[in-house]
Symmetry: C2
Subunit: 430 residues, 2 copies
């Protein structure tokens, strides 16, 4: 359907066809779900070896008994694993429990309420003193749980557009330079959630300079959640931001996050927070009020299961073997159903967990509602924007990894039908 050429009657006819198909889907009484950015059962089964008995290895070379209390920084081999995965030095890594989201929440809470460099330096105190509000830059579309943390602490979010090479760095630099209460930026630098973009060398290089434009308390939250989650043979390279920051002496302004949630077990992995060693020390001091230390036994399991870089690479290849066909099938169906119709743009990710779609202006919520009405659950429109507000109401995030293939394919066809139906209805009303 090329909008300009279609006559009114052709549009009416197409709407009738789509409406019939839509009702036929309804009659199937579907119960499908494309919202869940989580591994399938088949993927989880790749990590069965994680659960092998540890037998006599509970006491590490440095005397640490992983079963007992203590060790806020994590065990040495787990710090090494995190360093290898995230391109850091072991002394720059703190290893946490089963959720990197928790580390982000704790770090932001630390900075906002307690102060990264002592009580006087809390972001909230600085904001009160100047009568303003703490602000974060949010490349959009982005990850809803990052935004939830900001909302939770009443941190104002400012949208920054993200393109194929990463966030608009002119905008980032201008916003940071203009307002000392801009205290951070959320980044998913590789296979960004949901767009799948990987930041360019130029963006990474400029990002390393951002803390210099900002004050001491500024932090880049570099959530490298998909560091090793490739879908192609030749992964797009991602420059090492920590290397760049060390060179510019801005490492204090960088906080790297990562986890094994989408490597081993989504709910029972281990998490990493990386920064310069001084930051790591201050953060672990802060954590000492709230925990006796992370689960070191699970850290040990992970370091044994992912003992070498080769183990990790081979393991991620097995994940790719399971999920790549799901991505390909989703993309094939979108091309087959909607190719050339100018009603939907979508990404072709080279890694990560999502396909990002943009409908015609003002149709995302309508498409989600149409699909929900016949039993196909899509991520709520707006979820990829701060405050759940997509200013153009266009973005919809598809998560193909969790459903079995037949359910996935059915759900994507329903989605495509809903997109076209909503689009035709809008064109007819125009």
């Amino acid at each position: 359907m090329s909008k300009q050429d279609d006559s009114k009657s052709e549009l009416a006819e197409r709407e009738e066809q789509l409406q019939k198909r839509y009702e036929a889907y309804r009659a199937l009484d579907l119960n499908l779900d494309l919202t869940r950015g989580k591994p399938s059962r088949q993927q989880l089964e790749l990590s069965i070896g994680l659960d092998a008995p540890l037998e006599d290895s509970y006491v590490l070379g440095d005397g640490t008994d992983v079963r007992n209390y203590g060790g806020l920084l994590g065990i040495a081999p787990a710090r090494e694993l995190g360093a290898r995965m995230l391109g850091l030095r072991p002394a720059e890594v703190l290893v946490g429990g089963n959720s990197s989201l928790t580390l982000m929440y704790q770090y932001i809470g630390f900075a906002h309420l307690h102060g990264l460099a002592g009580p006087g330096t809390a972001w909230s105190a600085e904001a009160s003193a100047s009568g303003g509000k703490v602000k974060f830059l949010c490349p959009v579309p982005g990850y809803d749980r990052h935004f939830t943390i900001c909302e939770h602490f009443d941190i104002e979010m400012i949208n920054v557009p993200i393109g194929a090479g990463g966030p608009d760095m002119d905008a980032v630099e201008a916003l940071v330079a203009a307002d000392p209460l801009v205290k951070g930026i959320w980044c998913v630098p590789r296979y960004s959630n949901p767009t799948g973009h990987t930041y360019s060398d130029e963006v990474v290089r400029r990002m390393a300079g951002v803390p210099k434009l900002a004050g001491e308390g500024f932090r880049i939250l570099w959530d490298n959640a998909y560091a090793v989650h490739h879908l192609t043979d030749d992964p797009v390279p991602l420059a090492n931001l920590m290397d760049e920051c060390r060179a510019l002496e801005t490492a204090q302004g960088l906080v790297v996050l990562g986890s094994t949630s989408k490597i081993t077990y989504a709910g029972a992995g281990i998490s990493f927070l990386g920064s310069d060693p001084g930051n790591i020390e201050r953060f672990s001091q802060h954590l000492s009020a709230s925990t006796i230390g992370p689960d070191k036994l699970n850290q040990l399991r992970h370091t044994r299961f992912l003992a070498t870089s080769e183990d990790l690479t081979a393991h991620m290849e097995r994940h790719r073997g399971i999920i790549e066909p799901k991505f390909r099938s989703t993309l094939d169906i979108l091309a087959e159903e909607l190719g050339g119709k100018d009603v939907l743009e979508w990404t072709t990710p080279a890694g990560g967990y999502f396909i990002s779609c943009d409908t015609l202006r003002g149709l995302a919520a309508r498409v989600v509602a149409l699909a929900a009405d016949i039993g196909v659950k899509l991520t709520p429109a707006g979820a990829t924007y701060p405050y759940g507000r997509d200013p153009e109401d266009r973005n919809i995030r598809l998560a193909p990894t969790f459903p079995p293939m037949d359910e996935l394919e059915q759900a994507v066809r329903v989605f495509a039908c809903c997109v076209e139906l909503a689009s035709v209805q809008q064109l007819r009303a125009a």
Copy 2:
């Protein structure tokens, strides 16, 4: 040594003897530690069965895959385990990660900064509005990590004396009734840390009424850390506070805590928070901003390892078999070295992890320093009081579980020598 009868010269002679013994200990170049309230390696080895492969049991009867994301309340069988251990109903239990301290910290943070019943109800907001400070009652001596949480949130702590039957309830009731900014009380109702006392039925009954004297936002933090950690054949009974609270309709004012840290692995156990189901629901909503859920796989391990009440009882008997001789030996040495000398009072705990000692007035810090000087580390004087301030400088907490028996015995003898030496010196100076 009976103070009244000793002549000055006898005291001088005794000091000389003790000083010689003290120097003899110094010559041994000791490196001993009585501070660590944690299980010994032998105890940790009791739980080797926890690490058995789970094989095909990852998917629970309700469809939950314990390896994947989700499930903020914890898995059903773990909620049942917590309920059984803490005398609650499963719907009253949330199961967390490896640290009940973290649950306490999160709960206090929720109440103080966010509000137990919505944004307007934050303790800190109420305090700001009235120009006062949020306060907590702290039965003393008590657990230093409870006090650290209060300090962390700038909550003022008020000492309440604890006796053989629990806190002075006249004081508790009067303080709560007098000031609406008293928002909570810390309790370790069984084998209290460090005194070993178990609250009497009368204290539990009166405690259930305390939320009625306070406002809606008041919480009893009932840290039942030693619920099943008996050292005798006939455990002192502890009345069920939740039952009492349900009867009085004050269950909303009660938060019960517990964990398996001193049952299975100190650093890799599971934790429980109990309250009325409405509180549990609101708290889990709060947690959803900071986590994708607890490690359900470790919860499953625990429910299999501690499948029945009998399993738990038998397991705790094995712990007792290891630690009871250490307590007995410590008490025997104290009696042998200091019995009848009127220089130290100590408790004879029927459970828990500590022996609580009171020196003569003003000597605790001196004793700790004397011991440190010859290589025996004792818990810092004052640690069992808010702000680290023991008003009489008398209390010293001994932790006999961790050291091997020979090191424990040596350390206790040194401790006794330091106590008597400091006492004699004080008496001579008087």
